[in-house]
Amino acid sequence: MLKGRDVVSIRDIAKSDIELLLRRAEEMEAGLVAGTPPDSLRGKIVSTVFFEPSTRTKMCFQAAVKRLGGQILNLTSVQASSMKKGESLSDTLRIIDGYSDMVIIRHALDGSARYAADICAHPVINAGDGGNQHPTQTLLDLYAIRRMKGRIDGLDVFLVGDLKHARTMKSLLYGLALFKARVTLVSPQGLEMNPKVVEEVRGKFKAEVAESGALDLKQADVAYVCRVQKERFADPYEAELAQKKFMVTTESLKGAKGDLVLLHPLPKVDEIAPEIDGTKHAKYFEQARLGVPMRMALMAEVLGV
């Protein structure tokens, strides 16, 4: 049951709740396609509090609220708030919580969403906390994979790129392990997934997790690519080299399965060659669109409407 709960980490959500969300997202999507989405959030106010840049996540949440007939309060940045005058994060959150039925937060500090959940009386949804978690991205990724491949369990899913810094990958690995996908982690040297995270999913779910330093996608049913987070590198040249080595091109897709699905949390920069966008494999724009019905489903479940 998600009603009244905070959604801070994918680790907090039971598999049965994720399955419920996958079903409810299908209903929401059907409603959107038919032009008759439910007005479940009518009379509700949802605050989007983003202290870090975002295009998709913020606009996707805002679209989902509007599709459900709700209202949005939007805080854009520290610069545009009283925090610029020295107000603490906790005071800012208390004020926003008093105006809202739900708070959606993104912040650069790891654990900031849990902190917000401690402070706010209304449910808090984590839209990304530093390098830690991005649970709603994982929910939409699981929904996209199941929509595109018909299942998640038993699929060979390759996670490719900067697995050290990408919070989406950490959350997704956990979600894939929960659903018994076989995962291969492909990353440049030095950008590997935190071994403690890998150890945890292997131990907890008996998950099959392989690791590779080479971009070979022949066995993949799904390749999920993320960008090298250059802003987290001390030396931009090193970041550039790491990115070039792991760029997905038509060459690197030779020998890949015909129904390989390529996903990406976006924004993509240089990690997927532009010519890939037009191929049957490129599903990342559709993936981004599917975030709307999944976030509609999540907010409706959390608000119990």
């Binding site: 994060l89 906790s90 654990g111 900031s112 849990r114 906390d129 978690q133």
Partner: protein, 146 residues
Amino acid sequence: MPGELVVEKIENGTVIDHIPAGLGLKVIGMLKIPRSSKAALLLNVPSKRMGSKDILKVSGKQLDEKELSKIALVAPAATLNVIRDGAVVEKASVRLPKELKGVAKCPNPNCVTNHERVEPKFGQEEGGKFRCEYCEMVFEAGELIL
């Protein structure tokens, strides 16, 4: 015996024994010792079990939960003797608690607990490791900042 150091008995207080040699100074630094208390720290005491060990004797002092947790993180093999009226009334080994609240700081510099006024919390995982309840990173007990 010639050359042997003699430390007087304490009437009321606590003796922390089996501290790994070299960690006694760290342990004494973690405790809130009243100004009126007498304390003796013995370093590199020969030990059959450990080879050598440190021992801390503090008069007029009972350890609280936070202090016990801190000692368990630094010296998990330490033992406690509670002394009343010159006699040992309680012997115990320190144990790592299931949950640490306000005992240690998170080693992750980007963790919200190192930036906002929030009490750090850790839950014990398998293998005696600890997970920060905020940033969710997992640490060995010895990695936590005291």
